[in-house]
């Protein structure tokens, strides 16, 4: 088998890269794929806690690159999904410990026995970002529907194109359908139009994401959560499936129905 390398990046920090990586990885593994996710945010590792694997770290990415351990020793197997692995970032080193070509070699070794390699990129446009995109076959850019995140996403998309790694595909995270509905939040359509990229997923804001992160259990495995469903859909789209986008405009409740009545009456 030859794995596909998917890098998840964003430009701006805090938009949900790590959450997206953990959940897309979990969703792919849940479908029976062999998945390894690599935390390339050296010095600021977090994918381990989001996946709930922080207590099992012995070796990290830099240990593999510097030859202190074999690849298999640094791959932590997930608690529930036997086909999901994590290679954690080094916490006490800095980004210069890894080079883009190190990442390419590492991924080439992993490609032979995995289906998917997901790389969680650090925020920013510096060395860490270049390391993360060097081995990528596909790059997902995560953004939020707000001005600073969209602006930074545009910068990143430009850099990805300049590196001939494009076209990037967009994940819009933390959409609040009610706010979009009353035109107080950029809609997914607005964001796509501004950034001129192809969409791969829209994740609704969901409190359950925080709960699941608290517990270290990816929300993609929660069948009831809309955010979880949205992440699973991204995984299926990565596999080439045509999956319609979730209808987030379902305005439940009395006020939702009322606004719709008033609006349709007005038109």
């Amino acid at each position: 088998m030859t794995a596909k390398v998917v890098t998840i990046t964003s430009g701006k920090g805090g938009v949900g890269k790590t959450t997206a990586t953990a959940n897309i990885a979990a969703a792919l593994a849940d479908e029976g794929h062999k998945v390894v996710c690599i935390d390339s945010d050296i010095g600021l590792r977090n994918l381990d806690v989001v996946l709930g694997l922080e207590n099992r770290i012995v070796y990290d990415l830099v240990d593999v690159i510097e030859g202190r351990c074999r690849m298999r020793q640094a791959m932590i197997r997930d608690k529930r999904l036997p086909e999901l692995f994590l290679i954690p970032a080094a916490q006490t080193r800095d980004k210069t410990a890894v080079s883009p070509s190190d990442m390419v070699h590492l991924c080439n070794e992993l490609r032979s026995y995995m289906d998917w390699i997901l790389i969680d990129s650090p925020a920013g446009i510096e060395r860490g970002f270049r390391n993360a995109i060097a081995p990528a076959d596909v790059i997902l850019v995560v953004t939020n529907p707000e001005v600073s995140a969209v602006r930074d996403a545009d910068r990143i998309i430009g850099l990805i194109e300049a590196e001939e790694k494009g076209p990037a595909r967009l994940v819009i995270n933390r959409i609040k359908p009610a706010m979009v509905h009353r035109e107080d939040m950029l809609s997914p359509e607005d964001v796509i139009e501004l950034l001129a990229v192809e969409l791969i997923g829209v994740i609704p804001e969901d409190e359950q994401v925080i709960l699941s992160t608290n517990r270290g259990l990816p929300i993609a495995l929660d069948g009831k959560s809309k955010a979880g469903m949205a992440f699973r859909n991204i995984a299926r789209r990565l596999c080439g499936e045509e999956v319609p986008f979730l209808n987030l405009n379902d305005q439940g409740g009395f006020f939702g129905r009322l606004t719709r009545m008033i609006r349709s009456g007005g038109n």
Partner: protein, 89 residues
């Protein structure tokens, strides 16, 4: 209270619309790496050069970056002052 009345009467631009309009401009400038200030300077220089040959209205000149799809263009709108002398002859 005015804000509230404006909103009630639908006069105020919705905040999403504002975000989109602002982003459109910011992204165009980011992409071509030209600051709004540079554009202003360019405008002044253009006015100066064109005025040497043609009588224009310097206050009505507009110059802006526009985007269609992946292409960016610099669009200048330079109104020419009517040539009065010719008409009177």
């Amino acid at each position: 209270m005015t804000g509230f009345m404006d909103r009630l009467l639908g006069r105020e631009k919705k905040s999403a619309r504002q975000a989109k309009d602002r982003l459109k401009l910011v992204l165009i400038h980011d992409r071509v790496d030209i600051n709004p200030g540079t554009l202003e300077r360019l405008k002044d220089e253009l006015i100066e050069v064109i005025s040497r040959h043609i009588e224009i209205d310097p206050y009505a000149v507009s110059i802006e970056m526009r985007q269609d799809g992946h292409h960016h263009r610099l669009v200048a709108d330079i109104p020419i002052k009517p040539a009065k002398r010719r008409r009177t002859r």
